[in-house]
């Protein structure tokens, strides 16, 4: 556990007036306030540090104690006395309003050692727990079907059903699955953002899927049938004679499921990539030459 320089955290000198401390806190807190930076973990952490520093430096008694013993926090005897006096005051001291979105656990070990539990001098008002933001990685194939996923947040297993068709970057809210409420307040919410990268074979745009399928020259010229693997199984495709390279066909209703609309699907677009034969033998070359002559 290291000494924390609260003055440095707030960017003020040791002689700063309460007004200067308040001003510094508000200026810095404005940049990293969790409500203004909902998905920024660094900003959240920074705000907690600022909040802790302000909790100490804005309270004359805490500040006095910190100035006196701050660097020598390990000498527990004095702190213990202070801690006891603080605890007796806690019951009749009106709490300050800050840190409403954080629990005691958000204060550093250093703070706990120096001032005891974060409760001392703080409000007993019930506060809603902190909202959490998390990312869940799914494969495109997983997102294609409704399925269940279990993951762990704060040591707690959460099992959710993910509806088919959930989109890359989409965020869902799991009510009351966030941080614990303070003083019996309700838990915060958990915001889960899905990360669903495309695969080399399939790319998704909205509810439509795009893929490229290789066909040989002979099938492209003469027409025929090819098999295509999709997330819902194999599909037989009829290739029209004289199909050009880059031809794009649309398979209606064979794309991605529409989120929360059972039975509705986007379309699948298949682009044909015609493979020119290589390593031709003499006979094949001769036939191609004849074909070329006939074509001119």
């Amino acid at each position: 556990m290291e000494f924390i320089d609260y003055y440095k955290t707030l960017g003020v000198t040791k002689n700063a007036t309460p007004e200067e401390i308040k001003k510094a806190f508000r200026k810095l807190a404005g940049k990293s306030h969790p409500d203004l930076n909902p998905n920024d973990k660094d900003a959240n952490k920074r705000f907690q540090e600022l909040n802790e520093a302000y909790t100490v430096l804005s309270d004359p008694e805490k500040r006095k104690k910190y100035d006196k013993y701050g660097k020598d926090w390990e000498h527990g005897e004095e702190y213990e006395k202070y801690r006891q006096s603080q605890q007796s005051k806690a019951s009749n001291t009106g709490g300050r309003g800050f840190s409403g979105n954080f629990s005691e656990a958000d204060f550093s070990d250093y703070f706990e050692s120096m001032f005891g539990g974060g409760r001392g001098g703080r409000s007993q008002v019930k506060f809603r727990g902190q909202d959490y933001n998390s990312e869940l990685h799914l494969t495109l194939e997983e997102a294609f079907t409704t399925h269940q996923q279990t993951f762990t947040i704060d040591g707690k297993n959460i099992r959710i059903t993910i509806p088919a068709g959930v989109e890359n970057g989409q965020t869902i809210k799991l009510a009351r699955q966030g941080g614990k409420g303070v003083n019996g307040g309700p838990n915060g919410d958990l915001y889960l953002t899905f990360s669903i990268p495309n695969t080399p074979a399939f790319k998704r745009l909205g509810n439509d899927l795009y893929t490229t399928h290789e066909i040989d020259l002979f099938t492209a010229v003469l027409g025929g049938e090819v098999m295509l693997n999709t997330f819902s199984g194999k599909i037989k495709l009829k290739v029209a004679p004289e199909t050009q390279n880059g031809t794009k066909i649309r398979l209606k209703g064979k794309g991605f499921p529409v989120y929360k609309k059972e039975g509705q699907f986007g379309d699948l677009y298949v682009t044909y990539h015609i493979k020119i034969p290589t390593n031709l033998n003499e006979k094949q070359k001769e036939l191609f030459a004849q074909l070329a002559e006939l074509s001119h």
Binding site: R26, G97, V125, G169, K203, L205, G206
Partner: protein, 97 residues
Amino acid sequence: MNSQEFIPIDVFCRHYGVEDAFVISLQDYGLIEIIQVNEIECLEVNQLVKAEKLVRLHRELAINTEGLEVVVHLLQRIQQLEVDMISLRNRLSLYEP
């Protein structure tokens, strides 16, 4: 009145240590909705998260109601831009190898 669904304004104000006038001003600026239930001004439960957030910003950053209106507006714009960015990023990924 179902206490599960409505929170009287005075209870909210007492709980969070804010003035009634502040909460009323939030409504005046269209930041929250206050409804009358049995002639008592109340917040619907679904407004609570929004109201708590505004109280935190007001108290912790000393932002007045005019400032909160600007903040909320800008946060909504950021959110919309993030949605647009995700959509464009997904679209762009179509052309990436």
